[in-house]
């Protein structure tokens, strides 16, 4: 095949949002101010489980500056799920809607009881303290085990007869009994996972007001504007077209914490704006963000793997039990993702998966970067590593025998059309110096230190299809001066989509990148399900490409008519119209001419809904301090196949960020609860978020296996690099200490305990 020479894509062009962001001009929801706006604060439950018997707001109401107070008594009694998934799930998926803006029962420490709008945040804060609430305290359940006991209190009485969230996810392929029968060996282990927090830098925030056009305008930190509008429309009985949700235009990180509502910032702001008839802004404090917005799921995963003497996997049985927290959010879907992440990497003829989540009186768990991936990838990869050891086989060689190839049968509901996993493994192995480090090594000068390597692989999706509806409308049009406008509702939360979508349009239309402007994050663009599922470039890019290609055809047809030639003799490149391979006229001259003749080049397109898995192999070189139990990741090589890298520098940056989150997941990040049911880690410092001092160099490697279903052969990359980090590190720990780390994070305390136990 002739290699195409691209003009714009595949190049590390500077981000189109970078100038705004390095000069302090970039605006986020927390920066939006409008005249006469009120500030809102939320009263939160101090108890993990209680009935709200009485709320006395009289003293708060009489405080000068207080404009309005909302509680369960004066807000709509409409159940919702704050995420896009149970707003966008097509039948037969059953939506689990279990949240009100406020309820007469609280289900975790931090649950919303009331909110006040006042002329300043300080007055609102003071008013909150003046609200008197009588609670009837109920027994609380904090763990999956407690919640599953038959005598356990029901957290949602109306839902069903247990604390199960929705229905379990079940998956079968082949015959699992038969699979283990024909396995010469089996290994089995159960792994336990912590609560991780997304820790996006911009806290949850929203500003709601009646706009000049009469609609309800909501500025918001959401990463899914259209689904957010849909949920607001349901709650407040407003037609969707009477609500506008927009980022202003930037979002300060998200990582899954606001695929839909930003916790409850949007509905609280709207409720108060309707009550007071004034603009209302709400910004969560960092501790509110920690305790009262979604987290990653904690839980356990058991894996049993059967394989033959020659290292061929025959059977896998996987069971997951997740702690969903107080409300469903993504807790049904997460087990679908766990199933998919655990069981689509290898050829497994006989497999079985069973997974479910339960309600507990903890902060609700939802989506977090690498949705559902870190836990099953850890459990599966640790088990695969163990299997290779059982056979005295190199873990890379074992994997190479078993990884999915194009066309293989697997349990995903879409085909595998491309994979560069083998190349990822080979290039990563070389870069880390696998052969030099795979044997245990002591630092000869410092016998307390151990150095070694470990590796693991993983994959991730490129869209939410078929688990949610998944489509993006992209509008591409050319203006009379030759500048190009691209409109989507996708969100620029840091992933670079404002730049890469522009690169795709510029490539197709043969114009320089500077000629293209990309509108983002606004429901006044065509429908889209938001920045999630690593889909923005794959789905949004496909839509933009299709629309731009249609516009290109319109232009070529127009020029062919003018030049009296066929379109085969024409090209658009470098901002020029080329006829018979010669520059005929600047692009802008042609568009001006078209304008004079009442011709506009424009197209609204939707991509062909599809999905594809991206692949990766991570290699960790670690140093263990056997005296303190501290593990330092000296180098993490992250080889990723995301198909065509539309902007390699952006791809690298995204990989590095995910790896950092993976290192935190492996070694330090965790939210735990005290005996009152209160979150202990409610700030960055207590939570032990990785800083620039906490690990060594991250080295991304880009592998580009062409994906037929993606724009220019691209797949998703956004969430890919979190999951394989922990197993890569812990396989190195196993190499060095012979310890099977079954509980994350491996803090120095836990490692020292393990070392002592092993002696």
């Amino acid at each position: 095949m002739k290699k195409q020479a691209y003009q714009v894509i595949g190049k590390s062009l500077p981000r189109s949002d970078a100038y705004d962001k390095v000069t302090g001009k970039a605006r986020y929801t927390v920066d939006v101010e409008v005249p006469g706006m009120l500030h809102a604060k939320v009263l939160r439950s101090p108890y993990p489980h209680a009935k709200v018997v009485r709320i006395d707001v009289d003293r708060a109401k009489s405080l000068p500056g207080v404009a309005g107070i909302v509680t369960w008594e004066n807000t709509p009694r409409v159940l919702f799920n704050a995420t896009s998934t149970h707003t966008q799930s097509p039948p037969p998926f059953e939506a689990v809607k279990d949240q009100y803006i406020f309820d007469n029962k609280v289900r975790y420490v931090g649950d919303e009881v009331a909110a006040v709008a006042a002329t300043s945040p300080e007055i609102a804060e003071e008013a909150i303290r003046l609200i008197k609430v009588d609670y009837k305290i109920l027994p609380a359940v904090m763990t999956v085990e407690e919640a599953e006991e038959t005598s356990a209190p029901r957290i949602h009485e109306d839902k069903n007869n247990s604390n199960m969230i929705g229905s379990p996810i079940e998956n079968n392929m082949g015959d699992i009994q038969e699979g283990f029968k024909c396995s010469a060996h089996t290994v089995e282990c159960t792994y336990t996972f912590p609560v991780q927090k997304q820790c996006q830098l911009e806290p949850q925030a929203a500003l709601a007001m009646k706009a000049e056009d009469g609609r309800m305008m909501v500025y918001s930190t959401t990463q899914a504007p259209h689904p957010t509008r849909k949920i607001l429309s349901d709650i407040f009985s407003l037609p969707m077209n009477q609500i506008r949700v927009a980022n202003p235009p930037y979002v300060g990180g998200a990582f899954g914490v606001r695929i839909g509502f930003s916790a409850k910032a949007e509905p609280i702001a709207v409720a108060l704006a309707l009550l007071t008839e004034k603009p209302v802004k709400i910004v969560y404090s960092r501790d509110e963000d920690f305790i009262a917005s979604e987290t990653r799921h904690a839980g356990t995963i058991r894996v049993k793997l059967g394989f033959s003497d020659d290292g061929i996997i025959q059977a896998a049985d996987v069971e997951s039990r997740m702690n969903g927290g107080a409300y469903a959010s993504w807790s049904v879907d997460v087990n679908g993702a766990i199933n998919s992440r655990a069981l689509t990497i290898y050829r497994i003829p006989h497999l079985h998966f069973h997974g479910y989540s339960v309600y507990t009186n903890t902060t609700l768990a939802g989506a977090a970067r690498g949705f559902g991936a870190p836990a099953p990838t850890y459990a599966m990869e640790m088990t695969v590593d163990k299997a290779a050891r059982t056979l005295n086989m190199d873990p890379i060689a074992f994997r190479l025998k078993n990884i999915i190839q194009v066309g293989d049968a697997w349990s995903a509901p879409f085909p595998c059309r491309s994979t560069g996993l083998k190349e990822c493994m080979e290039r990563g192995k070389k870069r880390i110096g696998w052969d030099d480090f795979s044997k245990k090594s002591y630092d000869s000068n410092h016998p307390r230190y151990l150095r070694g390597v470990g590796m693991a692989v993983g994959n991730h999706i490129s869209s939410a299809f078929p688990f949610q509806t998944d489509y993006t409308g992209a509008n591409v049009y050319v203006l009379p001066d030759g500048s190009v406008q691209v409109e989507t509702a996708l969100v620029e939360m840091g992933t670079g989509v404002k730049t890469t979508l522009g690169q795709i349009a510029a490539e197709v239309l043969g114009v320089p990148m500077e000629s293209v402007w990309v509108k983002i994050g606004d429901t006044d663009s065509s429908y889209d399900i938001g920045g999630q599922a690593s889909r923005s470039l794959y789905a949004g890019g496909s839509a933009v490409k299709k629309a731009a290609e249609a516009v290109r055809e319109q232009i070529l047809a127009y020029v062919a008519l003018k030049q009296d030639c066929t379109v085969d003799n024409l090209d658009l490149r470098d901002g020029w119209i080329w006829v018979h391979n010669e520059k005929a006229m600047p692009f802008s001259e042609m568009t001006q001419d078209a304008d004079y003749h009442n011709v506009q080049f424009s197209r609204l397109e939707k991509h062909k809904t599809d999905n594809a898995l991206s692949w990766h192999a991570h290699f960790a070189r670690i140093k263990i301090d056997t005296w303190t139990g501290k593990i330092f990741v000296e180098k993490l090589v992250a080889a990723h196949d995301m198909g065509k890298a539309i902007n390699p520098q952006i791809v690298e940056g995204v990989i590095e960020g995910g790896v950092s989150m993976g290192i935190g997941y492996a070694l330090s990040e965790e939210i735990t609860y005290d005996h009152h049911g209160k979150q202990i880690q409610d700030s960055y410092h207590k939570y032990m978020l990785p800083t620039s001092m906490d690990y060594g160099e991250i080295e991304p490697i880009i592998v580009e296996a062409h994906e037929p279903s993606g724009p220019f052969g691209a797949r998703g990359i956004g969430e890919n690099s979190v999951a394989a980090v922990a197993p890569a590190i812990m396989c190195a720990v196993r190499n060095l200490l012979g310890i099977d780390v079954t509980e994350l994070p491996l803090t120095p305390e836990r490692l020292l305990k393990q070392i002592a136990l092993n002696k």
Binding site: A18, V22, T23, G24, G252, S660, Y684
Partner: protein, 156 residues
């Protein structure tokens, strides 16, 4: 209330403040300077970093009254007309910007470092930004940017 005078990004400012308020509160709420961000309000994340007398401080826990008579520089004050500061340009060129919420603080911590230390090692750079949290980049390209800028800054 209390009146203070100070230099903000080269201009003389006079402002009436509540003695209890933070420098960040004054900048954002009284002066409309939105470059410095509030990520935690407790001096833990560095998103609010500004320079007071050329030293990086967490504006969210720095008393506003203390800048009376001093020189304050925020991200808005780094650019000279059309010309970006070399650190700003380096952040663009090396791809050190993602969501951008930590960026103003990161750049000012970097400026503090490079103003005092022309050729820092990567380890010294890591230390200088260890009070600035970034969740998007894994710090890699931020460290690259500061290293790259140090070459430009030391030339000028």
């Amino acid at each position: 209330m209390q009146n203070i005078e100070f230099t903000l990004n080269g201009s003389q400012i006079e402002v009436s403040i509540d003695p209890r308020e933070s420098l960040l509160h004054m900048l954002r709420n009284r002066l409309g300077v939105f470059g410095p961000k509030e990520g935690c309000g407790k001096g833990e994340c560095g998103a609010c970093t500004v320079l007071v007398e050329h030293n990086a401080v967490n504006a969210c826990i720095f008393p506003a009254g203390k800048v009376d008579g001093l020189e304050v520089v925020t991200i808005e004050g780094l650019q000279q007309g059309e010309h970006l500061h070399p650190i700003q340009q380096a952040f663009i060129d090396t791809g050190a910007v993602q969501c951008g919420f930590c960026t103003p603080g990161m750049i000012l911590s970097a400026k503090d470092l490079l103003d005092h230390h022309h050729k820092p090692s990567r380890q010294e750079i890591r230390r200088a930004i260890s009070g600035n949290i970034c969740r998007c980049t894994g710090y890699s390209k931020i460290i690259d940017a500061i290293e790259y800028a140090s070459k430009d800054v030391s030339k000028s």
